[in-house]
């Protein structure tokens, strides 16, 4: 079992974000997650990758409950879960080689990983991962010198390099042009298939989801609206899923007076 949600829900600041989630992904499954913005796709993925703790029910990635583990086993579990984030989590000024190599930090000793900051670890492996996203020539560049799309692909290269058992992707192609987007979805899907890993990807584009994923989960208002094989997803279902897309504008915060700048404190 690669990923299981048992009656899982998430309530943040008294507001239910997700509720009553019940589904399981077998080893090697490939699932697309679709739904209107605000439906809870990102939160669901964050429950799956252990960054968020369910407030109801349990979430068990790779057959283990992360919230019952001691630090060592927890780190080991997390090392086998890889996530592509919507905004690539790359520190400014970090070099691409380290940004990608960071995918395998969990398997290194603390000292080894600190040393690697000075002398990058395994540039050959990193460069292979980068070649797959067509960025091998930027390996020694700083991340903040890349375009948004390139940074997105560095984030993908990191997960490819990590080679996790459970691969999660949160709108991984939102910053890419349509052709590159399709190539990338295909790349991730093929990589997962080749390694027998499980893939769950949220997508804004329904077409991409239907084209590459055998199973589609539709999420609406924090609940699973449907969980069906591709063939069973009709255009009515899609229309209902996105119907009257609600927009809940966040209350605009009136900014208070700003604090004394640090440069005026001595």
């Amino acid at each position: 079992m690669s990923l299981a949600f048992h009656d899982a829900g998430l309530t943040l600041q008294g507001k239910p974000v997700l509720s009553g989630l019940n589904f399981r992904l077998d080893d090697g499954a490939q699932v697309a997650l679709i739904g209107p913005s605000g439906a809870g796709k990102t939160s669901l993925l964050m429950l799956a990758n252990t960054l968020a703790r369910p407030t109801q029910g349990t979430v068990e990635p790779l057959g283990q409950n992360p919230w019952r583990l001691r630090p060592g086993p927890l780190a080991a579990l997390r090392a086998r879960i890889g996530t592509v984030y919507q905004t690539p989590p790359l520190p400014a000024r970090q070099r691409v080689v380290n940004a990608v190599a960071a995918g395998r930090l969990a398997s290194q000793s603390v000292w080894g990983s600190l040393l690697a900051l000075l002398r990058p670890h395994d540039p050959v492996g990193v460069s292979e991962a980068l070649t797959r996203v067509d960025l091998a020539d930027r390996i020694w560049d700083r991340c903040d010198r890349l375009s948004g799309g390139q940074r997105q692909r560095v984030g993908i290269a990191r997960v490819l390099y990590q080679a996790p058992r459970l691969m999660l992707a949160d709108e991984p192609v939102s910053a890419l042009d349509p052709r590159l987007a399709e190539d990338t979805v295909r790349l991730l899907s093929a990589d997962a298939r080749a390694r027998g890993a499980t893939l769950m990807m949220s997508l804004h584009s329904v077409d991409l989801a239907l084209a590459y994923f055998p199973r589609i989960i539709g999420l609406r208002a924090g609940r699973v609206a449907f969980d069906l094989p591709r063939a069973a997803v009709t255009s009515e279902l899609i229309a209902q899923l996105y119907a009257g897309e609600e927009t809940a504008p966040a209350p605009a915060l009136e900014p208070g007076p700003s604090a004394l700048p640090r440069s005026a404190q001595c």
Partner: protein
């Protein structure tokens, strides 16, 4: 006839004005601050005589040699002190920052000991930075002897606490995407820090550290007022002996020092952006700290300072004096400190507001350049040095403290106010001008409402700072709690000194709380 309904805001506004006046009026009495005194012929005569002595600046070879030596000592003290602060502050920040607190399972929660440690360390940092560095210096002068070692220890402790807090805040203000992602992959706390936070936080960390170094140099230059070496010691003697020509040489050197350090720090910030910048910078810092220690070491060794004396010394402060005799003095000192800080800050608010108009370019470029220069000069001279000079003008006592605070803070606030003015949207004022309003009216209705809350907030922040400074100005004879602290330490009454320090900390805590609440009210 039309009957006007009353303005509902009228009474509260009137009330607040009365409260403010009620607060301000006694401050004049308590501090004996009388601006007219500044213009009295005797004062002007004394000042004129003193300032006339500025020319020509002292330039005998022997004196200049001594100045050069003490200038290097001042630099070395600041650098070594900051080095110590780094050793202290960086680990403190790493342990206490919330930036690395990422989701953990119930079982993986930190050890209770580690969890208990954190509030203790936070408290330690508050204590370290709550006591002003000059007070630390005064204490260490007593504990380990005179010279530069107490100054280094004082800077190290006070700035260590400050760096610890600000580093932690800088780390917390970084985008948390990278750290969360690394945690989700199973990286440990140290790995997450170096791979996820360090690369993006580095420029801000370095820039703040370099800025602190500038502060350290100014602080180190006045440490001499309590016998902790550097050019401050020469200044102290020259001012006490009213030797104008020496004072002018020293002020010139001090000014050059401040300008020089600003240039170096600008260079360091730029250097960081270049390819090998970080490496070069790290090497330069290590060399500078090493060279500083090498320069200071012979004097430390010769003075035979022994740090073992610290523990019995620290123990002699406990328990703080609580006898009835001390309360009267303490109340008088506290009121005086409070009055100095309130009046000084209020005057600075007025002065800063006035100078901000030309400084923001409202009266043309030449006026802007000239005012900026003036503001920089006001700000560049540390408050303690202003106080030593103000004592000459107004005589000993709290009035000199008021003047010193007002001058220095005018420099700080003037610049901030000018920046606020420059950043204010121009449209409201332009619209009023276009509608035929006069310049003053357009400013009053189009700009002032936009900036006033920010100005008040800045002033309140600065007041928190000033109350700490007002508490130490007594060290150079400008009244307040500082004088009592100095006296108690001179007479080996450490327990009394402890009570005075506690009073200082309490006062500064009260000021912070008052200021925070007032700012919250302002924001609404």
């Amino acid at each position: 006839m039309l009957s006007h309904p009353r303005d509902p805001a009228l009474l509260p506004r009137l009330g607040w004005t009365l409260v403010l006046l009620a607060l301000l009026a006694p401050t004049f009495v308590y501090t004996h601050f009388n601006p007219a005194l500044l213009l009295q012929p005797e004062t002007l005569g004394t000042l004129g005589h003193f300032v006339a002595g500025f020319f020509p600046p002292a330039h005998e070879a022997g004196f200049l040699l001594e100045v050069a030596r003490e200038t290097i000592t001042t630099l070395a003290v600041a650098t070594a002190g900051l080095g110590m602060a780094l050793f202290l502050g960086a680990p403190l920040a790493f342990v206490t920052t919330r930036a690395l607190d990422l989701p953990m399972s119930a079982e993986a929660r930190r050890h209770p000991l580690a969890r208990g440690l954190r509030p203790i360390l936070r408290g330690l940092m508050i204590g370290l930075r709550g006591v002003p560095e000059i007070v630390w210096a005064l204490l260490f002068v007593r504990a380990v002897g005179l010279g530069s070692l107490p100054a280094v220890l004082a800077l190290g402790l006070a700035y260590g606490g400050m760096l610890g807090k600000v580093y932690a805040e800088i780390l917390e203000s970084q985008p948390d995407g990278p750290t969360r992602a690394l945690t989700a992959q199973g990286a440990g706390r140290i790995q997450v820090f170096f791979w996820g936070l360090w690369p993006q936080a580095l420029p801000e960390l370095v820039s703040y550290t370099v800025y602190r170094w500038e502060c350290a140099i100014r602080a180190s230059a006045v440490m001499g007022f309590v016998g902790a070496g550097g050019i401050g010691q020469l200044l102290d003697t020259s001012i006490k002996m009213m030797n104008g020509s020496e004072v002018s040489t020293l002020l010139l050197v001090f000014l050059l020092l401040v300008i020089g350090t600003e240039a170096i720090s600008a260079l360091a910030r730029r250097g960081l952006e270049s390819r090998y910048g970080s490496g070069v910078l790290a090497a330069a810092v290590a060399t500078a700290i090493g060279a500083s220690l090498a320069w200071l070491w012979p004097a430390w060794a010769a003075a035979g300072a022994d740090l073992k004396a610290l523990w019995p010394f620290a123990a002699s402060f406990f328990p703080p004096e609580m006898g009835a005799a001390i309360w009267g003095d303490l109340a008088r000192g506290t009121l005086e400190t409070l009055a100095i800080s309130i009046l000084g800050t209020t005057l600075a608010f007025a002065g800063g507001g006035l100078l901000a108009l030309p400084a923001s370019g409202r009266f043309g470029m030449p006026a802007k350049a000239a005012t900026r220069l003036l503001l920089n000069a006001l700000r560049g001279v540390p408050d303690l040095l202003w106080a030593a000079l103000a004592v000459l003008a107004l005589g000993l006592g709290p009035a000199a403290g008021v003047l010193a605070l007002a001058l220095h803070t005018t420099g700080v606030l003037g610049r901030l106010f000018a920046e606020t003015l420059e950043n204010a949207p121009p449209l409201p004022e332009q619209a009023l001008l276009a509608a035929g309003a006069g310049r003053a009216a357009a400013f009053g209705h189009g700009v002032l409402p936009e900036v006033i809350v920010q100005w008040l907030a800045y002033t309140l922040y600065r007041w928190e700072n000033n109350i700490r400074i007002a508490a130490v100005l007594g060290i150079v004879g400008a009244g307040g709690l500082g004088q009592q602290l100095y006296l108690a330490l001179s007479l080996f009454q450490e327990k009394t000194a402890a009570t005075v320090i506690v009073a200082m900390l309490l006062l500064s805590w009260l000021a912070e709380e008052t200021s925070r609440h007032t700012r919250l009210r302002l924001a609404h």
